[in-house]
């Protein structure tokens, strides 16, 4: 399967979440935030698979944090959106905005004007 640098739907949401969370962006929080803001319930495996894919594409970077007691002495893995990631998000947004031009939100739903 050809794998370009296209940003998938979940990838986009997750990258935005990482961006929003800033210093607090790590696996568990990302999962919770995604659930709360986007209403997307994903498994912990999916979160990490997606995060690793984002890293692979160069949109995110990660590093090991400090272990805490609540985590049974296990370290968190922190994530950060890379400049390339920010660029990718920006381009997705531009695409969306272009597509939305000429579409108006009315009481009956979006209509083309």
């Amino acid at each position: 399967m050809p794998r370009g640098n296209h940003l998938g739907d979940l990838e986009e949401l997750m990258l935005l979440t990482v961006l929003r969370l800033g210093e607090n962006a790590h696996g568990g929080r990302i999962k919770d935030e995604l659930e709360e803001l986007a209403g997307r319930t994903v498994s912990i495996s999916t979160v990490y698979v997606t995060l690793m894919r984002l890293e692979e594409k160069g949109y995110a970077t990660s590093w090991k944090g400090e272990p805490t007691g609540e985590r049974g002495g296990k370290a968190k893995r922190h994530y950060e959106v890379s400049p390339e990631g920010v660029e990718a998000l920006e381009s997705v947004r531009q695409v969306r905005e272009r597509m939305w031009q000429g579409v108006e939100a009315t009481a009956e739903g979006p209509v083309v004007v």
Binding site: H26, G27, G28, K31, S43, I44, S45, T46, Y48, V49, L51, M52, R53, E55, E56, S62, W63, K64, P67, T68, E70, R71, G72, K74, A75, K76, R77
Partner: protein
């Protein structure tokens, strides 16, 4: 919380399966959720399940692929390097040679053969359950120490009695003096004595068990209160002034719903109101092993608890009924404490020679004493024997499973050989096989725990025939759980190792070539046969033991106790405890009851006595026998006695062999007695003693007017014992037990007697009402229990061995189908084939039987002390048991052998 982390094994499995990139992060996330969310809302058990569920549903494949692609871009992922080293946990677990797929594989194999799994788990469960139940009892009785602070500092302090028994109870006066003579040996000495009292429950009187204690009991023991306070010094200073009580935790939780409002409330013990001041801690059930104390009252309430004037038990130095415990001061050894109490008691003996001569105190470390130094000596061999018995049952169960597994392994030889040939290591295969059996054993252990729990509940409901309710404190505590886990793991390895080793025998080539699979060669003595021989031998030992105890019980039941054991009822009206009856009233009540009983058409004879032979209590009194030398310094003789009505001898059918009975004697005239034949033999060497006058310890004369035939007094096995019968007179009407005889069964007599009692006094409580058989069953209780337990375990062993024999013969037959087919096509008859198949099985039984006889011969000598009326080589037992065993073995072998004769020669030859 001490352990609110996810299951370690699950965590280890998880971390091993995950790619290093994210293993720690994911594990940490799950742990975080586990601790902060799942446990608080769902509890530990569900949380553990949730955690395991997470592992099962984890998309490990996707994670691995993602991680691989990531590292492919950056092969030297510098940030992940240190991770590896900083995961000591994962490191340890990675060294343990277990893979999650091993576990999956084992589970799958067990699920795939449910029949085998169920039989295996059940038989192991029986074995482990028997062991756990038995161990729980031994643990409760012998092993478990007091739940107090620094139990190693405690010593038991005993006083010797006049007869040379060094470990007897002490007197209150001696206790007070010992406490006062502080020489820095003890940081505290406590006194306690047990009591049984009546308390009101749901408008009904019930007997409860409790302790009378010195005020500092809880402080010195270091046992905290669950609620309220313990006693203060003034509550234990003046007799009868402070009716206060501390409640036991069990009483509080079962009878009062753990209501804190119980403090300050009133509890009636023997109709005296007591104020509750505290509740003892949950783990503390009193200082009497196994028994649970419901109430603790100050020693100063002794008279009130005893229900009548206790005759100055607190003041009289010669009244000894207290257990003493001392807590040694820091740096003092038990030897020093022992020397100190010995010196102290020697000084007391010099000061109070009339009461304390030859009364020497000794101190033993509490850790060395379970029930009592002398009782321990008798109980320990019993405990060892019972644990040995259930241990044998478990071994037999293990042998069965090993045998099954060997058969399965034989069938898998080819598969295993192929796997070995294509490069699987032998270690890996053994590991897998052992994992499977250990899993089975742990399942068996779980089943065993359930069975043990049932058994214990059953046993706790099984009251020994004692007049007081016994509240046993036998529970599955942590020690027991560890024991069960240990036994299960042992069982898993024990029955799994041999099959695993044999199945993975690296001798591959012959197996691959050998068409028949190499098993079941006739005449070859393989491992499975050895297991059957062992089983038969062990079963034989157990059955011989059971047989000996059953025979011993039969013999005990045949002993003539010297009185008539025909239908009779015994009723003991509670005139002492249930009211403040004056002596005159009590006498009037007894006489009226007797009269009304005799007026009933179904009742012919009624006797009264303050003690019945072969009852629970032992009662002796000191007599002075002029001209008869005594070992005791005061010249007195301690003799068993009873006070009886004139009709006693006729009612109990105890013949008067010389002189006359009480019939003609004036109850208010000169005090007269009857003595037993053994009394005459022991003290007067058979001379005619009728007319002889002996004295009470106080010097009052007692004239012997007759001699009664001997009866058993304390135990069935005893030699004839000197016995003195005093005549019931005007001043001797304390605590009378009635014996009622007539037409009809014991049960009918009992019903009649109780009905008459209600007519005389509807409110009269009853201490005890029982039939003659129930009365006799008290002494037969230990031999009956021994016979019952051993029969149950022996039967279990026999059943398991039968299954083993069946399995071996059945397997041999299935492997020899081809051979048998050839034989039959060459003209062998069905009978020949059956005989051949059975013969193979019976040969093993014979060998096992020979080993069993040798083993049983050695073991039964050890139990000869418990046997009664028969020797350890009782011929009847040694003839009967082999017959029973052979019968069962024959049946077990015959069933599969019959199948062999049904073999169709043509099909059998075509099968291979």
């Amino acid at each position: 919380m001490s352990r609110s982390t996810p299951p370690r094994i699950a965590q280890a499995i998880l971390e091993r399966r995950l790619p290093t990139e994210v293993a720690e992060a994911i594990s940490g996330d799950l742990t975080h959720d586990y601790i902060t969310r799942v446990v608080p809302t769902h509890g530990r058990l569900l949380a553990d399940l949730w955690y395991w569920g997470q592992i099962v549903t984890m998309r490990v494949g996707s994670l691995r692929r993602a991680a691989r692609r990531l590292t492919a871009i950056r092969p030297s992922h510098e940030r992940n390097r240190p991770d590896q080293a900083s995961r000591p946990d994962a490191d340890i677990w990675s060294r343990i040679p277990m893979h999650p797929h091993d576990l999956k594989y084992a589970v799958r194999r067990l699920v795939r053969s449910p029949g085998f799994t169920i039989v295996a788990v059940l038989s192991l469960g029986l074995g482990i359950g028997a062991n756990t139940a038995m161990f729980s009892i031994v643990n409760a009785v012998l092993l478990r120490g007091l739940p107090v602070s620094n139990p190693s500092e405690l010593v038991e302090i005993y006083t010797s009695d006049g007869d040379g028994n060094p470990y007897v109870t002490s007197s209150h006066q001696d206790y007070l003096d010992l406490k006062a003579s502080d020489e820095g040996i003890f940081s505290g000495v406590i006194g306690t004595r047990t009591f049984v009292a009546r308390t009101e429950r749901e408008s009904r009187d019930e007997l409860i068990f409790g302790e009378m204690i010195s005020w500092d009991y809880f402080e010195v023991l270091g046992a905290p209160m669950a609620l309220g306070r313990s006693f203060v010094p003034e509550e234990d200073a003046t007799p009868g002034t402070h009716p206060v009580v501390i409640m036991g935790y069990k009483e509080w939780s079962t009878r009062h719903d753990r209501d804190p409002g119980v403090l300050g409330s009133t509890v009636h013990l023997n109709q005296v109101p007591y104020t509750v001041v505290g509740v003892a801690h949950e783990e503390f059930t009193g200082t009497m092993p196994v028994l649970v104390s419901s109430f603790y009252v100050p020693l100063m309430m002794t008279d009130e608890i005893m229900g009548f004037d206790s005759g100055g038990q607190l003041e009289r130095r010669s009244s000894r009924s207290m257990f003493l415990k001392g807590r040694m001061a820091p740096g003092i050894t038990a030897t020093q404490a022992n020397e100190a109490v010995k010196a102290f008691s020697t000084a007391l003996a010099a000061e109070f020679p009339e009461s304390n001569e030859n009364r020497i105190m000794s101190a033993l470390p509490s850790g060395d004493v379970s029930l009592h130094p002398l009782v321990d000596g008798m109980l320990k061999p019993v405990a060892v024997m019972l644990l040995g018995v259930v241990g044998l049952v478990l071994l037999i169960a293990c042998a069965n499973l090993a045998s099954f597994l060997l058969a399965r392994a034989e069938d898998r030889r080819k598969e295993i050989a192929v796997r070995l040939a294509i490069g699987a290591s032998r270690g890996t295969l053994i590991r897998q096989l052992l994992l499977e059996t250990t899993l089975l054993a742990l399942l068996g252990g779980a089943a065993g725990l359930v069975l043990a729990n049932w058994t214990i509940e059953l046993m706790m409901a099984f009251q020994p025939p004692l007049p007081i309710p016994v509240d046993f404190d036998i529970s599955l505590d942590r020690t027991v759980l560890w024991f069960t886990l240990g036994v299960s793991t042992f069982a898993g390895l024990a029955f799994g190792l041999a099959p695993a080793l044999q199945a993975t025998n690296p001798d591959i080539a012959p197996t691959l070539k050998d068409e028949s699979g190499g098993a079941g060669k006739p005449g070859r003595f393989n491992l499975r046969s050895t297991l059957v021989v062992t089983q038969v031998a062990f079963s034989f030992v157990l059955l011989i033991g059971a047989g000996l105890f059953v025979r011993s019980l039969q013999k005990a039941q045949l002993i003539d106790p010297g009185f008539d054991t025909g239908p009779a009822a015994m009723v003991w009206p509670d005139t002492d405890l249930s009211g403040s009856m004056e002596d005159g009233e009590r006498r009037a009540f007894f006489l009226e009851f007797e009269e009304r009983l005799l007026a009933d058409p179904g009742i012919d004879r009624v006797a009264m006595a303050d003690r019945l032979p072969l009852g629970a209590s032992v009662q002796t009194r000191e007599f002075r026998l002029p001209g008869v030398p005594s070992d005791s310094p005061d010249g007195n003789h301690d003799i068993d006695d009873a006070t009886v009505s004139p009709s006693y001898f006729e009612t109990m059918d105890v013949p008067i062999v010389r002189g006359e009975g009480f019939g003609a004697a004036d109850p208010n005239g000169e005090p007269v007695i009857l003595v037993s034949e053994a009394f005459v033999e022991t003290f007067y060497r058979g001379q005619d003693v009728v007319g002889t006058i002996i004295e009470t310890s106080g010097g009052d004369p007692l004239r012997i007017i007759g001699v009664a035939a001997d009866t058993k007094v304390r135990t069935l096995g005893e030699d004839p014992r000197p016995y003195v019968y005093k005549m019931q007179g005007r001043d001797r009407f304390l605590g009378q037990q009635f014996v009622v005889k007539g037409s009809g069964s014991s049960a009918e007599l009992l019903a009649t007697a109780l009905r008459v009692l209600r007519d005389v006094d509807p409110d009269m409580a009853v201490v005890e009402a029982k039939t003659m058989n129930e009365h006799l069953s008290l002494l037969l209780f230990p031999p009956r229990m021994a016979a019952l337990l051993l029969s149950v375990f022996g039967g279990l062993a026999l059943l398991l061995s039968g299954i083993g024999i069946y399995g071996v013969v059945s397997y041999a037959v299935s492997k020899r189908t081809r051979e048998l087919g050839i034989r039959m096509s060459l003209g062998a008859s069905a009978e020949d084939v059956i005989r051949m198949a059975i013969g193979g099985g019976m040969r093993l039984v014979l060998v096992g039987g020979v080993f069993g006889v040798i083993l049983a011969g050695a073991v039964t000598w050890a139990i000869s002390g418990f046997l009664f009326g028969i020797g350890p080589t009782d011929v009847v037992t040694f003839v009967t048991i082999p017959l029973i065993l052979s019968g069962v073995a024959l049946l077990a072998a015959w069933v599969p052998a019959r199948r062999a004769s049904a073999v169709n020669p043509v099909q059998a030859l075509r099968a291979e």
